[in-house]
């Protein structure tokens, strides 16, 4: 229970960063914190006390494995988040080239 709450706190820290920071790189960092907390939460759900990693070996009698399904899903999610992060950073580089700053208050053309 405390672990779930701490995970939620990490998510809230990321949300706070996204909402209050003015620097594009810091907004990106907050976004990655939210991703990390979600991954950790999904893996925490699948954990079984006293379980071993889901790799089958014949030597162990009556093994208890942790749930392999959340781990496979999170593996997919990590790789996809890498792709999304690369796109975000490319856009940040483009913005820096055009406006000469990472500060979102200076990028007034985005106000529409």
């Amino acid at each position: 229970m405390t672990l779930f709450i701490l995970c939620f706190v990490l998510f809230l820290v990321g949300l706070y960063g996204v909402l209050t920071r003015k620097n594009i790189i810091k907004i990106f960092i907050g976004l990655s914190f939210m991703e990390f907390s979600t991954f950790l939460f999904l893996v925490l759900i699948g954990y079984i006390e006293g379980g071993i990693a889901p790799i089958i070996s014949k030597n162990i009698t009556n093994p208890v494995y942790v749930d392999p399904l959340p781990q496979a899903m999170v593996l997919t999610a990590i790789v996809i988040s890498l792709a999304a992060n690369a796109m975000l950073l490319a856009i940040a580089v483009k913005i820096y080239k055009k406006y000469g700053t990472f500060d979102i208050r200076k990028i007034s053309n985005l106000k529409g």
Binding site: L3, V13, Y16, K22, L40, L44, P54, Y65, T76, V93
Partner: protein, 184 residues
């Protein structure tokens, strides 16, 4: 187990808070690395070695790319004026509405978190439902001793195919965005 994980998570939260408040972007990135590698330790403690390996690789690549982005830019933030403006805007009449919206969003978030938590099994007492078929027939069906890769590449092969498509699309997108000159 729960205590060690809690300590690591608290360190991660402290690192996250420092990363968001650091004045220099480079130190912010380094403390972002605290959170990423803390996540690796958590994965190792939770018996997920595949995830730990992938997370190390991804975290290192992201850190290198971000440092390459940040190094040739103005790293210091324009923080001081922001604080002055913040105190001035507190007196505004808009402030009441903003505080109200924040409180409402906080209550909604906490309520949905409670709703999600009450129907979950407590930590460490997970009941296998769907993955029983994977656990007790997976090795014979797929021929892979590692069940995670068995699930990833056999039972959910189309999922991994879609993941590869997303990676390809993202690579094309990055190339398109960073192209120096448009074609006429």
């Amino acid at each position: 187990m729960e205590i060690i994980l809690s300590i690591v998570l608290i360190f991660m939260i402290i690192g996250a808070l420092f990363a968001l408040h650091a004045r220099d972007l480079l130190s912010a990135l380094i403390s972002c690395g605290i959170v990423g590698y803390g996540l690796v330790i958590c994965f190792l403690l939770l018996k997920a070695p595949d995830l730990a390996i992938v997370q190390i690789v991804v975290e290192t690549i992201t850190l290198i790319i971000m440092i390459a982005v940040v190094l040739d830019s103005t790293r210091h933030e324009l923080e001081k004026t922001a604080i002055e403006k913040k105190w001035k805007s507190l007196i505004n009449s808009k402030a009441l509405i903003n505080v109200l919206i924040t409180v409402i969003i906080g209550i909604v978030l906490l309520y949905s978190f409670r709703l999600a938590i009450t129907h979950l099994n407590p930590f460490g007492e997970h009941i296998l439902r769907m993955s029983e078929a994977y656990l007790y027939g997976g090795a014979d069906k797929t021929g892979s001793a590692n069940l995670v890769t068995g699930v990833l590449f056999d039972f959910r092969g189309y999922d991994t195919f879609g993941e590869a498509t997303i990676l390809f699309t993202a690579a094309i997108g990055v190339l398109t965005i960073l192209r120096i000159k448009g074609r006429k």
